[in-house]
C-alpha cells in the first residue's frame, strides 16, 4: 500500500476524464450540423402532429400490432430455448466464441442478410430476432447459473445424475433471475420487432416509416402512442400463465409472406457472398486471382471499411460520453433521495418514454427534423441509453442508507449520492458501450456514414460479398470493444451486475 501524501485523482475519475477528453477531440472531427432547410418549421409540424393524433390509422395497424407481438414472442421464445441450451455448454471456448459472434451482429444486419434469400418470409423476422438474442441469452443465462450456490448440489446423494442435479438445484435457484431477465428481453424483442418494419417486415415500424415519409405526423403520433402503450402496459397484460398460449398462437398470427425460393438460398451461399474476384476467376489457383483478391480487399478496406469504422468510433465515442452526462443529469429525477414524489412521477414518465423509444426510431425522427449529420444519431443514442442507465442508477440510489443529518440539494447529490453510485454508473456504462457501438453501426442505414451505411449501399448494389465482409468487420469491432470494456471493468474493480 503506497501512502498518498498529495491529492490525486482516483483511477475511476482518471478514466472518466480520459473518456471526456477523447469525446471532445472527436467533436472536432465529427460532422455535426443541422442541415434541414427549416428545422423549426419541421419540428413545429411534428409537435403539432403529436398533439393531434389521427386515430383513423388504428383500423389499419391492428394487424401490424399483432404481427409485431407475434414476431417478438416467437423470436424471444426460440432464443430463450436455444440460449439456454448453449448456456449449459458455455464453458466450451467455441460456444463462447460462437455466441459472441451471434450477438455482435445487429438484429437489422441479420434481417438484411435473411431478406436476401428468404425474402419477405416470416422466417426472416423470426431469425433476425432469435439468432442474436440466443447469443445474448446464452451469455446471461450462463452467468446467472454460475452465480447460484453449489452447496445444495453437494448435499445430493451420489449418483443423482447431472441433469437431475441441474433441475433440482441450479435451475430452481436461478429461476427468478432467469424469468426476470427473459421478461426484460421480451420487452427488447417487441422494440426490435417494431424496428424490423423499417427493413420491410410488416410490423409497426413499417407503418411508422411510411407515415413519416409522407409527412403524416398525426398518424406518426398515433403509432408512437400505441407503441408506448404496448410497452408501458406490459406488466398488466403479460402474465406468466398467458405466455405459453401466446407462443402457441403466435405462428398462426404471422402472414405466410412470400414463398421461399430455395434456389436463392443456395445461390446466396455458393455465389453471392463469395468475394467477386474469386467468383469470377477461371482458376482459383492462379496467382492473378489472388492478386485481384488483394486489390479487391484493399479497395473495400480503404474506401468503405476504414471510413465507416472511423465514423462509427467517432460517433459512438461522443454518444457514449453524452449518454454518461445525460445519465448523471437524469437519474435524480427518479431518485427518492433527491426528488419529491410528484417530481418522481414526472421523471418516471419521461424516462419510460425515452427508454422505450428505440435508438433507431429516435434517430430516424431527429434525422427527418434536422437533416443528415451525426447529430441526430448522437442525440438519439444518448437519450435512449442515458434514460435507461439513469433509471437503473436511480433505483440503485434508492437503496442507499443516508445519515439523518445528511446534506441536502446539490451537496447531497455531489457528496453523498454520486460517490456511492459512481462505480455502478461506470459499470452500466461500460456494459452499454458495446451496445452503443453496435447501434451506431446500424444507424448508418439511415444515411449517416457509419459501417451500416456501407453495408446498406453494398446490398442495394447487390454486392453481398462486400456487405458480408463489412458485417464481419463490424462484428469484430463489437467483440473487440466488449473485451476492452470487460478488461476496464475488472481493472477498475467495478462491481458485477447482470447486463442491462
Amino acid at each position: 500500500m503506497t501512502v498518498r501524501n498529495k491529492f490525486s485523482f482516483s483511477p475511476r475519475l482518471r478514466v472518466s476524464i480520459g473518456f471526456l477528453i477523447s469525446a471532445i477531440l472527436c467533436l472536432f472531427v465529427a460532422d455535426i450540423s443541422i442541415t434541414s432547410y427549416n428545422p423549426w418549421l419541421e419540428m413545429g409540424r411534428f409537435v403539432g402532429g403529436m398533439l393531434a393524433p389521427d386515430l383513423m390509422i388504428l383500423s389499419v395497424v391492428g394487424k401490424a400490432l399483432i404481427t409485431t407481438l407475434a414476431f417478438a414472442f416467437l423470436g424471444v421464445a426460440l432464443a430463450a430455448v436455444g440460449g439456454f441450451l448453449l448456456a449449459l455448454i458455455y464453458h466450451h471456448r467455441w460456444v463462447r466464441g460462437l455466441t459472441a459472434f451471434l450477438r455482435a451482429v445487429h438484429e437489422l444486419f441479420w434481417a438484411l442478410i435473411f431478406l436476401q434469400f428468404f425474402g419477405l418470409h416470416p422466417l426472416t423476422g423470426l431469425l433476425a430476432i432469435a439468432i442474436p438474442y440466443s447469443g445474448v441469452f446464452a451469455k446471461i443465462y450462463a452467468e446467472i447459473l454460475d452465480e447460484t450456490s453449489t452447496i445444495p448440489q453437494r448435499t445430493l446423494p451420489n449418483g443423482s445424475g447431472r441433469l437431475v442435479a441441474l433441475l433440482y438445484t441450479r435451475i430452481p435457484q436461478a429461476w427468478p433471475h432467469l424469468v426476470s431477465y427473459t421478461r426484460y428481453r421480451l420487452e427488447c424483442g417487441i422494440r426490435t420487432s417494431a424496428i424490423l418494419g423499417f427493413v420491410g417486415m410488416p410490423t409497426l415500424g413499417y407503418y411508422l416509416e411510411s407515415s413519416f415519409a409522407q409527412g403524416l405526423y398525426s398518424e406518426v403520433a398515433t403509432l408512437l402512442l400505441l407503441f408506448y402503450l404496448l410497452i408501458g402496459t406490459m406488466r398488466f397484460w403479460l402474465k406468466g400463465w398467458l405466455i405459453p398460449p401466446m407462443i402457441l398462437i403466435a405462428p398462426f398470427m404471422l402472414d405466410k409472406g412470400l414463398p421461399i425460393i430455395w434456389s436463392n438460398v443456395g445461390r446466396f451461399f455458393s455465389e453471392d457472398i463469395v468475394p467477386a474476384p474469386l467468383r469470377r476467376a477461371d482458376s482459383l489457383w492462379s496467382s492473378d486471382t489472388w492478386l485481384e483478391f488483394v486489390y479487391w480487399l484493399q479497395d473495400i478496406l480503404s474506401t468503405q471499411a476504414l471510413p465507416g469504422l472511423w465514423n462509427t468510433l467517432v460517433l459512438s465515442q461522443i454518444a457514449l460520453v453524452l449518454t454518461a452526462i445525460l445519465t448523471l443529469l437524469l437519474f435524480p429525477l427518479v431518485s427518492r433521495k433527491l426528488v419529491s414524489a410528484k417530481g418522481r412521477f414526472a421523471g418516471h414518465l419521461l424516462l419510460i418514454v425515452a427508454r422505450s423509444t428505440p435508438e433507431y426510431l429516435l434517430a430516424y425522427i431527429l434525422l427527418q427534423l434536422w437533416g443528415p449529420s451525426m447529430l441526430p444519431a448522437i442525440v438519439a443514442l444518448a437519450i435512449h441509453n442515458g434514460s435507461l442507465i439513469g433509471f437503473l442508477i436511480g433505483q440503485r440510489s434508492n437503496e442507499l442508507k443516508l445519515r439523518q443529518d445528511t446534506a441536502v440539494g446539490v451537496n447531497r447529490y455531489s457528496y453523498e449520492i454520486l460517490p456511492r453510485i459512481y462505480s455502478s454508473f461506470l459499470a452500466f456504462l461500460f456494459y452499454r458501450w458495446e451496445v452503443i457501438i453496435r447501434e451506431t453501426a446500424i444507424l448508418g442505414i439511415l444515411g449517416i456514414h457509419t459501417l451500416g451505411f456501407f453495408v446498406d449501399s453494398a446490398i442495394q448494389d447487390i454486392r453481398f460479398d462486400v456487405a458480408i465482409l463489412l458485417i464481419l468487420i463490424s462484428a469484430l469491432v463489437n467483440i473487440g470493444v466488449d473485451t476492452f470494456a470487460r478488461r476496464l471493468r475488472s481493472r477498475l474493480r467495478l462491481t458485477h451486475h447482470s447486463a442491462c
Binding site: 448435499t155 446423494p157 451420489n158 437431475v164
Partner: protein, 216 residues
C-alpha cells in the same frame, strides 16, 4: 459396515496449513462429536471427510444447502434422487408423486414443520430452514451422517429433540457442535480441534464439562 480409516487429511491455502496433516478412524456404531473454536478447522475437516465418503454419507453443511425457491417437500425429497430414474425425478419436480409425499411427511412431522410442506423455503425462518435440512439428512438414510453444527439455530428443547432424532436414525455419525452439554449427551467420543490439529480424542466417559470448555 467396516470401520473408516482416514489418513493424511491436509488442507492449505496460499502455503498456509489450515488443517492437518491428521488421521482419523471412525468405528461403525459410533457417534463422534467434533468441538473447537470457530475458525479452528472443524468445517474444513468435515468437508474433507465428506469428499472421501461421498457415496456412503449424508451431508448436512453449516449453510444447509437448501434450494430456496423450491418447496420444503422437494428439498427433502432430494435426499433420494439417486433411488429413482431420471424421468421419475423430473416428473416429480413438476407434479409430486403422492407416495413420495407420504414418505417425506413423517420426517417433517418429527421436525414439527409438516404444515409447511408446500411452502417454498425462502419463506421460512432460520430455525425452520435448519429443520428442513435435517429432515433431508434423515430422509437420506445413508451409512454415516456428517453434520456441521446441525442445531445452531434451534433453542434448547428443540435442539435436544433434533439431536435425538439424528442419532436414532444414524448410528454412525461425525457431528460438529459448539454446545458442550449436547456434545456430552449425544457423543460417544469427542474430538477437540485447535489450529487445524486434533488436540483431544477421548470417549465421553473420561471427559467432563470443565475439560471441554477450554476448547472455546
Amino acid at each position: 459396515m467396516t470401520a473408516i480409516h482416514l489418513t493424511d487429511i491436509s488442507v492449505s491455502y496460499d502455503n498456509r496449513q489450515v488443517l492437518g496433516p491428521l488421521s482419523l478412524e471412525l468405528k461403525p456404531g459410533e457417534i463422534v462429536v467434533v468441538i473447537g473454536k470457530s475458525g479452528c478447522g472443524k468445517s474444513t475437516l468435515l468437508s474433507q471427510i465428506y469428499d472421501r465418503l461421498r457415496h456412503r454419507a449424508a451431508w448436512l453443511p453449516q449453510d444447509l444447502g437448501l434450494v430456496d425457491t423450491l418447496s420444503v417437500y422437494h428439498n427433502v425429497y432430494m435426499a433420494q434422487l439417486d433411488q429413482h430414474s431420471r424421468w421419475y425425478n423430473i416428473i416429480n419436480l413438476i407434479r409430486p408423486f403422492s407416495e413420495q409425499v407420504d414418505n417425506v411427511r413423517p420426517w417433517l412431522k418429527r421436525m414439527s414443520i409438516d404444515d409447511k410442506i408446500w411452502q417454498s423455503v425462502d419463506q421460512l425462518s432460520g430455525g425452520q430452514k435448519q429443520r428442513v435440512a435435517i429432515a433431508r439428512a434423515l430422509h437420506q438414510g445413508a451409512e454415516i451422517l456428517l453434520a456441521d453444527e446441525p442445531v445452531s439455530a434451534l433453542d434448547g428443547p428443540k435442539a435436544d429433540q433434533v439431536m435425538a432424532c439424528l442419532t436414532q436414525q444414524y448410528s454412525t455419525a461425525l457431528i460438529a457442535l459448539h454446545d458442550v452439554d449436547l456434545a456430552l449427551r449425544y457423543g460417544q467420543r469427542i474430538i477437540g480441534i485447535s489450529d487445524g490439529r486434533i488436540m483431544l480424542d477421548q470417549p465421553v466417559q473420561k471427559l467432563s464439562q470443565q475439560s471441554l470448555l477450554e476448547f472455546y
